[in-house]
């Protein structure tokens, strides 16, 4: 009850502090500081002269606030956003700001506005419970609250000054954005801040411009994995490797032989040559890998889950497009399986999928297991990115080993595990420390 009340106050404090930050210029803030200090010292008008400065600064601030009523402006914006960005890697995009008035303006400031939802109690509690902090640091402080809000918002952009914006003209500015999390970065619009006559208070004009940009998980260099696996028969060939039904890969045309199926006759060639020509098909054999991502987070820190997604994304990136098919399997509300490579789909598409992966609430490993077992016959090799090493997962891995296919297991941990602690690890078993993912992946 108290926590909820405190969180509500955080939201109020945040709104107020942001209002102050965006509405007052640097000089406005200096005036506020002088106003406060001279007010404190000037409370006793008989003790010092500070109250005279207090009254003057107070008058200036009131005039600046009142003056903002007459402060008018009209603008339009157009953004050029990149399609993808990567977590933690700043990117730059261009914004064109148009002055829709007949006057030149100086000292305007462009402030980007991302969609934001204030974190609720449950979300915050879940997020910070996972940090496993000592009891005396479990209280959600304002700093943590604000950090989580920033995380939800997804990106950080500073204010961008517009030197001069000529009447009815458009000016392009570059904005640098640092994405803070995976997923969609939702741009709601932008504020154009225009200072008042005294240069203390800014009036904000909101220009709506809804756009979005997809932030991909962080990716690292991965050393080549030597998983020696056989090619497997792929029913229906590459084109249908991702579909169901019975099909084969088209190879060439040849003359009709008795016993050929009638639906293999190529009627166009028959019309051209006057004799029966049939299409010849060949069953397709090629390497097909499966990448399994364990999305059950349980009580683990968010950092670990993000690390698992990053490792999966890095593994996807390390695949060469023309070499093999790659199945990405994970469980959300249901078991998902996405295939890419060899012309079926572009591998970057799997990155998009990974950008949107969310932790599964309950223990869905059973479903994932089932999905893997169903397709294990088609897969030449299997890569598992795991977050836990419990009995169920150990049994599953042991079963896969008995199936004989090459198998690699990546276990994400918080630095507390060593290889010696793992009983009977498979041949390709890698511990990835969340603190040094890049080093661990590069040293495979």
């Amino acid at each position: 009850m108290l926590t909820r009340w405190v969180l509500r106050q955080y939201a109020q404090i945040f709104r107020l502090s942001r209002w102050m930050r965006v509405h007052f210029t640097a000089m406005g803030h200096l005036c506020l500081a002088v106003w406060l200090i001279s007010g404190i010292f000037g409370i006793d008008t008989k003790a010092s002269n500070s109250y005279q400065l207090f009254v003057f600064v107070n008058t200036l601030l009131v005039l600046a606030l009142l003056g903002s009523v007459f402060n008018r402006f009209k603008a339009g914006i157009k953004r050029q956003l990149p399609r993808y960005a990567t977590v933690g890697e700043p990117f730059t995009y261009k914004v064109f700001v148009s002055n829709r008035t007949d006057k030149n303006y100086h000292g305007l400031v462009y402030i980007e506005h991302l969609n934001e939802v204030f974190p609720g109690y449950q979300a915050l509690a879940d997020f910070y419970q996972r940090q496993h902090k000592p009891w005396y640091r479990r209280a959600i402080s304002f700093r943590l609250w604000r950090r989580y809000l920033m995380y939800l918002r997804g990106g950080y952009m500073g204010e961008q000054p517009l030197s001069v914006l000529a009447a009815q003209q458009t000016e392009g500015i570059k904005i640098r954005c640092t994405p803070l999390r995976r997923g969609k970065l939702n741009f709601a619009g932008a504020y154009i801040a225009k200072p008042d006559l005294l240069g203390l208070f800014r009036r904000l004009y909101f220009v709506p411009e809804v756009q979005s940009c997809l932030v991909l998980p962080k990716r690292y260099e991965v050393a080549a994995l030597n998983l020696t696996g056989n090619r497997q028969y792929q029913s229906g060939g590459v084109n249908l490797a991702n579909s169901v039904g019975d099909s084969s890969e088209f190879m060439s045309l040849r003359e009709y032989r008795q016993g050929d199926a009638l639906n293999h006759i190529h009627w166009k060639s028959f019309a051209r040559h006057g004799r029966l020509i049939v299409k010849e098909y060949q069953d397709e054999y090629f390497v097909r890998r499966a990448l399994l991502l364990d999305t059950y987070q349980g009580a683990l820190a968010n950092e670990l889950f993000e690390a698992a997604v990053s490792v999966a994304a890095s593994l996807v990136m390390s695949e060469r497009q023309q070499d093999a098919l790659l199945d990405l399997m994970f469980v959300g509300q249901q078991a998902y399986r996405f295939t890419a490579g060899r012309g079926v789909d572009h591998l970057p598409h799997l990155q998009e999928v990974l950008a949107a992966v969310q932790p599964s609430d309950a223990e869905f490993f059973g479903r994932l297991k089932k999905s893997v077992l169903e397709h294990s016959q088609q897969c030449s090799s299997l890569i598992c990115v795991l977050l836990h090493w419990d009995q169920e997962r150990q049994d599953f891995i042991r079963y896969l080993i008995t199936q004989g296919g090459p198998l690699a297991v990546f276990l994400i941990h918080d630095g507390t595990l060593t290889l010696e602690q793992i009983a009977q690890p498979p041949e390709h078993f890698y511990l990835i420390n969340v603190q040094q993912i890049a080093e661990d992946l590069a040293a495979l």
């Binding site: 640097a26 000089m27 200096l30 008008t45 003790a47 002269n49 005279q52 100086h106």
Partner: protein
């Protein structure tokens, strides 16, 4: 920079710190003239910011503890330009002429990227603020602060509007501020008067005592220790006496404070001595024993007196230790109101007098009998009763309730004594009775505040304290649970204040200040020295940049490079990406190999490279070059 100099000038002028202002101005001006600038890292800015913070905190603590006539906060305000000077100089003498925000605001230090600010304008504002630390009745500060602040605002005025509009707004703001500051001063005066009126209901007022007679509910006074007394026996200390009773309040008819002591030297009566330790905030009314002969130990403070026995102490330090010589017998004239009885009280007085039957007895016996009567027939209670009319409340106390707090007993005693023709007054003060074995002193708390009657019997004003003796026990029971904890800290604080007081008595204040200033100066010198010795970070102003930047890495100025230049375009030239070691090996020249070794030491271990070795390197290279010339000539 001009605005900084102007505001510093204003500060020096108002606070009379001409020399300090001149030194600060010189330092600021010098920053523009000197070609030398420090290339400081962000962490070094933060370190100096921390130093200023520590200096600031030390100053706050020092000024709070020191005995000063001025309030500590105003001393801090007055010296703000000096505290913040290192920060300004940091910016002015640094190569990029900007200050990372984290230098002043700890909370933004972890933010990326680092934000910078220009501290010159905030410093000008600080100077203006500090200039207002002194009280000056004229409007000079008002005008100067407006001019100074307008100068600061001029730099950020909007270019979107006509300049004349800016001037008009500033003139309008000045007019409004003039009216505003007059109104604020007037409002403050008014508020202060009201506040004094309100506060005096709880504190000793030498002219008027608002009793709790007629109040309802329960009386509650705090455990706060008002002062400590070194005395030989428990006694009553009086702050003021009142002769006129008007319903719920008592008035002192002679209310003008004057400089003429209201006590006279004892006439051969034995004199006892009291030692009082008291913390003061503002002017206070002293609590004094009966028959004061002299008040000692308050040199420098102002004492004022009223004929009715009140003594006001003002202009004293925040902690005082004074001695009172007293006889225990207060002499003084009887005034016209000392026998006045309000007519609304005649009724119950007649009833009680019929019960007492004390006519024809001596004043001494009457006073004793009244005291006895109250102590045996009445009870002490902190319950204030249910009667809200002050007159009826007293009657209710006398005839029905027969229980009340000390004011009831005191007022009733005064009126009864007067009814027998004995001049009497109401006295307010403290009962000194709680002895602290730990402190070896009597402790006087706020709840020991007491009222009693004084009667003029046989030429002496004698205390007639009719309140039943259990009143102190009942008050004692009201003590808060945490009183021992409070007492412990209070005793510690008292000991500290006592120590400080004694120190101040022994030492000259200026010597102490000098010591503190020396400590600050030493710290400042260490800081400047540390900055100075980071020579590798030293770089000159732009005009020297091109020359110096080559040598910003140690060993970049090694003479070996002269040999490299000399051999360029020859078969022996150092190849691209060839290390010096490989190169000299290829040339197979033992002298050159030695030079290369020296060069490596200078390049990568310059700390251990002595000036002798440096000279040796230089000479070896010169010798080698000469030899090379000779070979070429041959």
């Amino acid at each position: 920079m001009m605005i900084n100099l102007l505001t510093l000038f204003a500060w020096g002028w108002f606070n009379q710190h001409w020399i300090v202002a001149a030194i600060l101005s010189l330092l600021i001006v010098n920053s523009a003239l000197t070609p030398w600038k420090w290339a400081l890292k962000v962490e070094q800015f933060y370190r100096i910011g921390d130093f200023v913070t520590v200096l600031f905190v030390v100053a706050i603590v020092y000024f709070s503890l020191a005995h000063n006539e001025q309030r500590p906060v105003f001393i801090i305000l007055e010296w703000l330009p000096v505290f913040f000077l290192p920060v300004l100089l940091l910016q002015l003498y640094s190569a990029n002429n900007q200050l990372p925000m984290g230098t002043l605001f700890y909370s933004v230090r972890k933010r990326e990227p680092v934000n910078y600010l220009d501290f010159r304008l905030p410093y000008a504002a600080i100077c203006l603020l500090a200039a207002g630390a002194v009280k000056d009745a004229s409007l000079t500060y008002f005008m100067v602060s407006i001019i100074g602040f307008s100068g600061i605002l001029w730099t950020v005025r909007s270019k979107n509007n006509a300049l004349i509009l800016w001037f008009l707004v500033m003139v309008g703001a000045t007019g409004l501020s003039y009216w505003g500051q007059q109104s604020l001063r007037h409002f403050h005066q008014l508020a202060e008067e009201k506040a004094i009126e309100w506060i005096t209901q709880w504190h000793a007022d030498p002219f008027r005592s608002q009793t709790s007679i007629g109040d309802i509910g329960e009386l509650k006074l705090s455990d706060k220790i008002e002062f400590r007394v070194d005395a030989t026996e428990p006694l009553l200390l009086m702050q003021a006496s009142y002769d006129r009773y008007l319903g719920a309040s008592w008035l002192a008819s002679m209310r003008i404070f004057n400089d003429r002591p209201n006590y006279v030297a004892p006439d051969n009566r034995p004199v006892k001595q009291l030692n009082v330790f008291q913390s003061l905030k503002h002017a206070t009314i002293l609590a004094l024993p009966a028959g004061v002969a002299a008040i000692k130990g308050l040199a420098g403070a102002t004492l004022q007196y009223t004929p009715l026995g009140a003594v006001k102490l003002s202009d004293a330090p925040d902690f005082v230790n004074y001695q009172i010589d007293y006889t225990g017998q207060q002499t003084g004239k009887v005034w016209e109101f000392d026998l006045e009885i309000p007519p609304q009280h005649q009724g119950w007085i007649v009833t009680i007098k019929q019960e007492l039957k004390l006519e024809q007895q001596s004043p001494q016996a009457i006073a004793q009998a009244i005291k006895q009567y109250f102590q045996t027939q009445y009870y002490y209670t902190l319950f204030l009763g249910k009667e809200s009319d002050a007159n009826k409340a007293l009657e209710d106390f006398m005839l029905k309730r027969k229980a009340g707090h000390c004011e009831y007993f005191a007022v009733a005693s005064v009126l009864l004594l007067r009814s027998y023709g004995i001049p009497a007054r109401l006295a307010n003060g403290y009962a000194v009775q709680e002895y602290s074995d730990v402190e070896q002193l009597y402790i006087v708390r706020r709840r020991h505040a007491h009222a009693w009657a004084i009667a003029h019997i046989e030429g002496v004003w004698r205390a007639v304290d009719a309140t039943p003796a259990q009143w102190l026990d009942i008050e004692e029971q009201q003590a808060e649970l945490w009183q021992p904890v409070y007492d412990f800290f209070s005793a510690a604080y008292f000991k500290y204040k006592q120590w400080r007081y004694q120190q101040a008595m022994i030492e000259e204040e200026s010597d102490d200040t000098l010591l503190w200033l020396s400590v600050d100066a030493v710290l400042l010198i260490i800081l400047v020295w540390r900055l100075y010795v980071t020579r590798h970070l030293l770089q000159t102003n732009n005009q020297f940049n091109s020359k110096v930047s080559r040598y910003d890495e140690p060993g970049q100025d090694s003479e070996l490079y002269l040999i490299e230049q000399a051999l360029a375009m020859t078969a022996q030239a150092r190849r691209e990406n060839e290390s010096v070691a490989v190169w000299v090996q290829r040339l197979d020249d033992p002298t050159l190999i030695d030079i290369a070794k020296m060069h490596y030491q200078y390049r990568f271990d310059s700390g251990a490279f002595s000036s002798d070795r440096r000279r040796e390197l230089k000479q070896s290279v010169q010798r080698w070059l000469k030899k090379d010339d000779a070979i070429n000539r041959v």
